[in-house]
């Protein structure tokens, strides 16, 4: 990793009519960094990435990729980037090798270099022996790795992955991320969007994005630490709904939400929740099972950040 920023985004805005999809988004990504945009569907992640690839024109603000302006030098930008979208846009009626040849042609990779890169992509994606299968017959994980191969045939300096792991089994996702890390070690700058929290953990740095706004940015560890302003408790209780309603009234409780079959409750530090809470809940006809201090996950951080934004200051009272 060197420190020269590979992607610079400055107050980027995208409006669709009255709807503001991306609102004053700014960030910088260093070469070789894996940067994640984490947010729910419709939060503006894909719109941001599409502007950076020159697929959409920004409404205002600016962005450069490898020093090139994405709005004015879109064609030059495309020489240096690889883009893989949520649908792994391959041609299902072409064979694996034909897809590679086709994208190689589009990127202007020719001759012996193309042969080498195709051989590399086949090996990387584990498709050896299946090159002649129609792409439509390949499983999700293979298709995904093939799409990655197509996107990086021309050795781009920057790789954009837009929800590139959606609909792929967990094992394939792990393999995919190993490939991503390998490219990052070779100096490729990688911008990913995802709504999988576990995937976000693979990133060097993250920006949490909600309703077009970046609500938090930093390393996964830092985000987890700063987002939760207190101690996080796991509370098993029944009934779950009644417990949630009651716990929000308890003294010292900042936030509470349902996580699976239990509650995650944030309390102000310095209190004694392990003793106070069970008593409070029991008084409200809620039976309490296990209760313990846990370390926050990214999901906790995300819920805490977006929840507090959505609800305003009320949740703190």
């Amino acid at each position: 990793m060197n420190d020269a920023p590979s992607i610079v985004v400055d107050k980027l805005v995208k409006r669709f009519g009255a709807f503001v999809a991306v609102n004053q988004v700014s960030f910088q990504i260093r070469s070789g960094e894996i940067f994640g945009l984490l947010g729910p569907n419709g939060s503006g992640k894909s719109t941001t990435i599409r502007m950076l690839c020159g697929l959409l024109n920004p409404s205002s603000g600016s962005a450069t990729v490898v020093g090139l302006d994405v709005a004015r030098q879109a064609e030059e930008v495309r020489q240096h980037i690889g883009y893989m979208s949520q649908k792994f846009s391959l041609y299902n009626d072409l064979t694996a090798i034909e897809n590679l040849q086709f994208f190689g042609g589009l990127y202007g990779v020719k001759g012996r270099v193309l042969d080498e890169r195709i051989a590399w992509a086949i090996k990387m994606s584990g498709l050896a022996g299946s090159e002649q299968l129609l792409t439509g017959e390949l499983s999700g994980g293979w298709k995904q790795r093939l799409a990655l191969g197509c996107a990086v045939l021309h050795r781009p300096q920057v790789l954009f992955l837009d929800e590139a792991t959606a609909g792929v089994d967990p094992l394939s996702r792990r393999q995919f991320w190993e490939l991503i890390h390998e490219m990052s070690r070779e100096g490729v700058t990688i911008l990913v969007t995802t709504h999988y929290m576990d995937e976000a953990e693979y990133c060097n740095r993250l920006a949490l994005i909600d309703q077009g706004l970046i609500v938090e940015m930093g390393t996964p560890t830092k985000i987890k630490q700063t987002a939760i302003k207190g101690d996080l408790l796991l509370v098993e209780c029944s009934p779950l709904g009644g417990g949630l309603a009651a716990v929000k009234q308890a003294p010292g409780v900042l936030e509470a939400s349902v996580f699976g079959a239990a509650l995650h409750v944030v309390v102000s530090t310095g209190r004694q929740p392990l003793t106070e809470l069970p008593a409070f809940l029991a008084a409200h006809d809620v039976r309490v099972g296990r209760i313990e201090l846990i370390s926050p996950s990214l999901e906790d951080a995300f819920v805490s950040l977006t929840g507090s934004r959505a609800l305003g200051s009320e949740s703190y009272q």
Binding site: G54, L55, L56, N57, S89, Y107
Partner: protein, 370 residues
């Protein structure tokens, strides 16, 4: 790009049908179905006289390849019923005083009742019937002159000798089939090219394509070149079929044929491509494409309905219909021995069209998601 497009056509059963079978089906259907001439028109006769003269006239009808005298009836009602029941298209009534009046006055008439439900056939039947009667009348006249010792004058002072050039047998298939090549080209070209961009949008591959450095022009040319090749191959297929199967003459130059076809395909493919860019959906695109290519080509190109016989306003519109120039060129290439130099107006018109369409087509598509 082109190779990929070609491979996709090869792999897509629907495209293959469009490319291979549609032309054949079309040319067969039109070659057999859309004949405008009538042979073996079924005829009933009512001979009220039954004389030598009346029989001679009926023999003339029997001898004509255009008529099949199926039955002789003995009253007028039976004849009318037969026409009503669609058992015959033409009824010939020879009056009871036919030969008497022929001898006495030298003038007589026969009645022809024509089933007018099909206007075209009716006109043809009427025309052929008049021709048969006129020939017969001529012979009678000559005969009369001869019998009255006027053999010196036994020539009709004036007669018209018809000689039809280029379609000597006046067979409508020779007139129709060259035009079907245009119809096939329009149908095939429009269908395939209208799908090409829309398909990329629908399958989500367009986004990927836009994100690569490939230019809009490369996309267009890459996508249309295979279809141009396929179109030319189909044109050859149609021409071979027209000549080999239907016996349509091919007298003009191959160069002119390929030039005209190439220009026409550029226009058709350009239109299909622009529609595809504009609609982004395969279904919508193919429907629009058929509307703007097939309809004018079949109705206003002179393919089946002669432009000369159209009302003036519509005739004026046909000058804007690109297919008219191709159909006209095709007919002349097939039937007269037209080479490129004989087809300058058509070729120039098509070049202008190709340039205009090409100009707009290259500007139609922008590499952007908006």
């Amino acid at each position: 790009m082109s190779r990929k497009e070609f491979t996709q056509v090869r792999r897509d059963p629907y495209s293959l049908v469009v490319v291979l079978f549609l032309p054949l089906v079309q040319i067969l259907l039109l070659g057999y179905g859309a004949r405008l001439d009538a042979n073996h028109i079924p005829v009933y006769v009512l001979d009220q006289e039954g004389s030598q003269d009346s029989q001679a006239l009926l023999k003339a009808f029997q001898a004509s390849p255009y008529f099949d005298v199926i039955k002789a009836v003995d009253n007028y009602h039976a004849l009318v019923r037969a026409i009503d029941a669609d058992q015959c298209k033409l009824g010939i009534v020879i009056p009871w005083n036919f030969s008497e009046r022929l001898d006495d006055a030298g003038r007589t008439s026969v009645q022809a009742i024509v089933d007018g439900t099909d206007d075209n056939s009716a006109q043809l039947a009427e025309g052929y019937a008049q021709a048969v009667v006129a020939t017969y009348a001529n012979n009678v006249q000559l005969d009369w002159f001869a019998r009255h010792g006027l053999s010196q004058q036994a020539t009709i002072p004036l007669s018209v000798d018809y000689r039809t050039w280029f379609n000597e047998d006046l067979e409508s298939k020779n007139f129709i089939i060259p035009g079907t090549v245009a119809l096939v080209m329009a149908l095939m070209g429009a269908l395939l090219s209208s799908l090409t961009i829309a398909r990329e949008w629908e399958r989500g591959t367009m986004e990927q394509l836009i994100a690569t450095p490939v230019t809009a022009l490369e996309i267009m040319v890459g996508k249309l070149v295979p279809y141009l090749g396929i179109g030319l191959a189909d044109a050859i297929l149609c021409a071979v079929f027209a000549v080999g199967w239907f016996g349509v003459p091919f007298r003009g130059g191959l160069g002119a044929f390929f030039l005209a076809t190439t220009l026409f395909l550029i226009v058709i493919l350009g239109i299909g491509y622009m529609i595809s860019v504009a609609t982004k959906s395969q279904l919508g695109a193919s429907q629009y494409a058929l509307l703007v290519t097939l309809l004018p080509t079949s109705m206003l190109s002179g393919f089946a309905f002669p432009i000369d016989q159209m009302p003036a306003p519509i005739r004026a519109i046909t000058y804007l219909v690109y297919s008219r120039y191709y159909v006209s060129a095709l007919k002349r290439i097939f039937l007269s021995s037209a080479g490129i130099s004989d087809l300058v107006p058509e070729v120039v018109a098509m070049i202008i069209y190709a340039l205009v369409i090409g100009f707009f087509a290259t500007r139609a598509f922008h590499k952007s998601l908006q």
